[in-house]
């Protein structure tokens, strides 16, 4: 039978795109023949704006990159400036940074998995369980810096304020409860027949291509590449903690989902170790308000929840960066999207796209 290819626009307003993202999809019945991702609906020109701000004033911009994991973005940027200016961060601040970053990773993965299950058609119910745990962590962040979102918590040379006295007991309480809830998620989701049949074998990203396409984070690890910057290029104090790096085998949607679930438990392990070892002491190095780093350029990267978050800074010795570039993991993870979905069903396109876990604010900057 003769059939005609049809081209449809998915997005920019579509419930599954997690923001304003458009895919121009060419379909042969239900089979995807071509996908063209369209970016830019949320482009705010942050890289240009940053050239007119001081180094400290840029920290709130980083909150607005990937707003689901603002702490990690703060961390990556501060680390780059510290590397450029040669600033030593006090011990206590390093521990606080690691603790909040790992909390942030749990938040990010809860949301990523929750929405992935949502995209699979299990509307709202599993997401609400994830949301409940996230809420507890967000409450802790609020206790820490007064914000539930876009924290602006870290500073160049440390963090803005010390942990309030009630923070660590509350975090311990969360950590005591978390494994039980985690087991509940696993019971609810892992053996679910719909989740298994919809995710196993769909959206495959082969190992070689994952490396070649500069995929990073859970997307890269799900494809069987044992690569985690926290272990392979330890920044801050990550070399002091024991944790495993979960790796997938096939690089399909199931593996990406599993890697995120298992990473939550590893973050839990890191937080446990960090709160035992955290020393007393100052929380910020002495850094001038108008910091003038020496002339030169620097690239610093961290393992953000979505992948390798890099900052490329060029300093001309003035109070504002000459060039401020963000290597946004979610943006680059989309490079291989086309190859992952072509030949599959359109319903799988939604799932694959969800399993990459993007945040449009970071993709478009």
């Amino acid at each position: 039978m003769q059939t005609e290819l049809i081209t449809i626009n998915m997005g920019p307003h579509h419930p599954s795109t997690h923001g304003v993202f458009r895919m121009r999809v060419t379909l042969d019945g239900e089979i995807v023949r071509e996908v063209e991702p369209m970016f830019g609906y949320l482009h705010r020109g942050l890289e240009k704006l940053a050239e007119g701000r001081t180094y400290t004033q840029i920290i709130p911009f980083t909150d607005r990159l990937d707003y689901v994991s603002s702490m990690a973005q703060n961390f990556g940027y501060c680390l780059a400036v510290e590397k450029l200016a040669g600033i030593q961060v006090p011990e206590r601040a390093e521990y606080i940074r690691v603790i909040v970053c790992e909390m942030q990773r749990i938040v990010n993965h809860l949301i990523a998995v929750g929405f992935l299950i949502n995209d699979l058609g299990a509307l709202q119910t599993p997401l609400q369980y994830m949301w409940r745990e996230r809420e507890k962590l967000v409450d802790l962040f609020e206790m820490l810096c007064g914000q539930r979102f876009t924290y602006n918590y870290m500073r160049i040379g440390g963090v803005s304020q010390d942990l309030p006295p009630e923070f660590l007991p509350a975090l311990r309480k969360f950590l005591d409860d978390f494994p039980g809830y985690y087991a509940e998620f696993e019971e609810l989701l892992k053996g679910n027949e719909i989740i298994v049949s919809r995710t196993v074998g769909t959206g495959i990203l082969p190992r070689q291509q994952a490396i070649n396409a500069s995929a990073s984070g859970p997307v890269l690890r799900a494809s069987g590449v044992d690569w985690d910057l926290r272990r392979d290029d330890p920044y801050s104090i990550y070399d002091r903690f024991k944790f495993d790096v979960p790796v997938g085998t096939r690089g399909d949607n199931w593996d990406r989902y599993r890697v995120r679930m298992e990473e939550m438990m590893q973050s839990y392990r890191i937080i446990k170790q960090a709160i035992e070892e955290i020393p007393e002491g100052p929380i910020r190095a002495k850094v001038p308000n108008l910091l003038r780093p020496p002339k030169g350029d620097v690239y610093a990267h961290i393992e953000a929840p979505k992948g390798e978050l890099g900052f490329y800074l060029v300093s001309d010795g003035s109070i504002a960066p000459y060039r401020w570039h963000v290597r946004a993991p979610a943006f680059i993870n989309l490079t291989a999207l086309r190859d992952m979905v072509i030949g599959g069903k359109i319903a799988d396109l939604i799932v694959t796209f969800g399993s990459i876990d993007i945040c449009l604010a970071e993709v478009d900057r």
Partner: protein, 147 residues
């Protein structure tokens, strides 16, 4: 442990042997190569077994008025080292450097972004279109003289 940032002079020696005259400047942790030789040098960095740069971290560019500098950060997952390669494109009208998408697919969207916002052409890129801004937008906002 950790990734070792290779010293500029060490890598420069190896490249100078293969491609005499390709290097413009040697920096402590990187090199600047001529744009005409950039594609060959990048292929050499990727395929030579003792360098083995299989992972392209990032592609970006900076505007220094006299020239544009395109910056590549590379990592070798097997050898656990990193390196930074830069190349320069001259002229404000039509600065061009060779694309590396045939070596690393990961350069695809990033080169499009550099083209869109900085106005540098990547010869050999299969789909060099604007990405963040719309077709028909005048100018390239990340250039220093764009106001």
């Amino acid at each position: 442990m950790g990734l070792k940032a290779l010293a500029g002079p060490d890598v420069a020696n190896k490249i100078e042997k293969r491609f005499p005259g390709a290097i413009v400047e040697i920096q402590p942790a990187g090199i600047v190569v001529k744009s005409q030789s950039a594609a060959d040098v990048m292929r050499f960095l990727k395929e030579s077994p003792d360098l083995d740069f299989n992972y392209l971290n990032s592609v970006t560019a900076a505007d220094y008025f006299d020239y544009f500098e395109v910056v590549y950060h590379l990592t070798s997952m097997s050898r656990k080292h990193t390196f930074c390669v830069k190349t320069r494109a001259f002229g404000r009208e039509n600065p061009t450097v060779p694309s590396v998408t045939h070596l690393w697919q990961g350069a695809d969207l990033q080169e499009r972004e550099v083209y869109d916002l900085m106005g540098i052409r990547f010869s050999g890129h299969p789909n060099l279109k604007r990405i963040a801004l719309w077709e028909g937008f005048k100018g390239h906002p990340l250039r220093r003289d764009y106001l």
